[in-house]
């Protein structure tokens, strides 16, 4: 019978002079305990990033769609954990078939405490990839379609490319290095977001064609403080995301990883701020926030192999890049990404992956490749994952579109998804100009 009499046990131990443990606790168990609490702690932090994403996406879109965004973030995680439990983990970490795909451990069959620990740490990464997409597809996607998408990315799209890189698959074999997932997690989410945004089309009124010339309009986010809170929460979670990816509670490089993560994020925020200041005349809050995230995404691949100064450079470039990318997608390509997810996660994820080749300590990377070779392999990995995600999500979102399950109708969009998809309002009682 399990009682919560832990204190007595504790006391007994103290009195018993340690003999108890000398018998009980071996060095391997100590090592195991470090890894356990470190990874579960880190997993909890990465879990909280769901809240971060939810707040960022809610804050940067309009009030009339807030409840819908929230629902998407809640349900992509909920659907995702079941999918990753049933199928995703097996495809990612099951015994490899030719370095392409995992083939066993469906429903976590045969799992022991090590597998549960690793599953717990991995599932929150899978959910991160999935949730990135909701931001780019915000304010116009059908809820049911989104649920289906969540299922597929968590069960198959993310795990398979993840297998190539993190489970000893073909890219790993070639020496591709992605420490905590600039490509595995962020680019996968970012490219899926891009395909989704393109197939959906822009929000009504975003790009207005007047006499052959397209005018770009802004739909300002309705709650900047909430978005900022989300950014801080994401940054916090990133200490689990990156430092946890040492995968070991005894790795002395935990501190190194935390340091490079911090510096890159700071540099990203600063550079994005200055870029927006120079470009638009004022330091833009939401761009600066995107910059911090860009710095975080950028250093994710190389947090362990890039040194602090390198991290600052990587972050700074990511910070500038994210502003340029947002501008380019919006003003030139007219791809409507309400929160900048494609730029933050797709583009800066790719940049960070490449940066491993450019700035990484090759000895630590340990692939045996030359610098040029490493850069080449990194580029190959970026390209392979891009291709994989674009093709699969084209099929996925394309099918949804074909059966009319992708985009809500015009009136639904104008009224807001909260009312049309969920029959509720998110800010009941507040006077809001919901038509804007």
């Amino acid at each position: 019978m399990r009682k919560r009499l832990f204190m007595f046990v504790g006391l007994a131990v103290l009195l018993g002079g340690g003999q108890l443990f000398a018998q009980e606790l071996t060095l391997e168990e100590i090592k195991f305990s470090f890894d356990m609490i470190w990874l579960i702690f880190a997993a909890a932090l990465v879990f909280l990033m769901q809240a971060g994403f939810a707040m960022v996406e809610t804050g940067l879109t309009r009030a009339k769609n807030a409840g819908n965004i929230i629902m998407k973030n809640l349900m992509d995680f909920s659907v995702g954990v079941l999918a990753y439990w049933a199928v995703g983990w097996a495809l990612m970490y099951g015994s490899s078939s030719g370095g392409l795909i995992g083939t066993d451990q469906f429903f976590l069959a045969g799992a022991d405490s090590v597998i549960y620990r690793d599953w717990m740490f991995q599932v929150v990464f899978a959910a991160t990839a999935a949730t990135i997409v909701s931001g780019a597809m915000a304010e116009r996607t059908k809820f049911a379609g989104y649920l289906l998408y969540s299922l597929v990315i968590s069960a198959a799209i993310y795990p398979i490319s993840g297998h190539w890189i993190w489970a000893g698959g073909w890219l790993a074999e070639m020496g591709f290095h992605d420490f905590a997932g600039s490509t595995v997690v962020h680019s996968v989410g970012g490219w899926a977001a891009m395909v989704g945004a393109v197939l959906l089309g822009a929000r009504r009124g975003k790009y207005v064609r007047v006499k052959g010339k397209v005018t770009v309009k802004a739909f300002p986010g309705h709650n900047i403080p909430l978005a900022a809170l989300g950014v801080f929460i994401l940054w916090f979670g990133w200490y689990g995301f990156n430092a946890g990816s040492t995968l070991s509670g005894t790795d002395p490089d935990i501190a190194w990883v935390a340091t490079t993560t911090t510096l890159s994020a700071g540099a990203g925020a600063i550079l994005a701020m200055f870029t927006s200041w120079i470009w638009f005349g004022k330091p833009d809050p939401s761009m600066s926030m995107n910059g911090a995230l860009a710095g975080l995404v950028g250093i994710t691949a190389g947090a362990w192999v890039i040194d602090p100064l390198g991290a600052i450079i990587v972050g700074a470039i990511a910070g500038a890049l994210v502003v340029l990318s947002v501008e380019f997608l919006d003003k030139v390509l007219h791809i409507d990404d309400p929160v900048g997810a494609i730029s933050v996660h797709g583009v800066c994820g790719a940049w960070g992956t490449l940066a491993v080749g450019i700035f990484g300590d090759l000895a630590k990377v340990g692939s045996g490749l030359t610098r040029a070779g490493q850069i080449g392999v990194q580029a190959l990995g970026i390209g392979a994952v891009f291709a994989w995600v674009v093709v699969t999500t084209l099929v996925l979102f394309g099918s949804l579109k074909a059966v009319g399950a992708l985009r809500v109708g015009d009136t639904e969009e104008l009224r807001g998804l909260d009312i049309s998809e969920h029959g509720v309002e998110s800010y009941s009682g507040f006077q809001i100009f919901s038509n804007m």
Partner: protein
């Protein structure tokens, strides 16, 4: 001079503005409002309980115009807001005795535009 007050569906505001622009009416003021009308409307529900939404969100437009513009304004509003469904809204026309531009103290018809 008349003061035209119109209640329209919130999501029709842009269409109405465009129609007004076409008729060279550029000045107006808009407020949020809750309206009780024939439209018993769609039902919202919250945690499974129907919300008696008998106060529906409307936008209230206020447009001061010279007499010769009244019909034009009404037509433009109708053009932008009419869907034929209950809830499209109402237009009220009221007498307006004077208008003063704060900036220049101009008065009357000259101040309206």
């Amino acid at each position: 001079m008349k003061l035209i007050v119109a209640y329209i569906q919130p999501h029709k505001l842009n269409d109405v503005k465009e129609e007004l622009y076409k008729s060279d009416i550029f000045k107006m003021s808009a407020t949020n409002s809750l309206g009780c009308g024939q439209q018993k409307g769609y039902h919202e529900s919250y945690r499974g309980v129907d919300i008696e939404v008998n106060l529906l969100k409307k936008v209230r437009l206020e447009i001061a115009v010279n007499d010769q513009f009244v019909q034009l304004t009404i037509d433009a509003i109708i053009a932008g807001a009419q869907t034929g469904e209950i809830g499209d809204g109402k237009i009220f026309v009221m007498p307006l005795e004077d208008v003063i531009r704060i900036r220049s103290r101009e008065k009357g018809e000259a101040a309206i535009g």
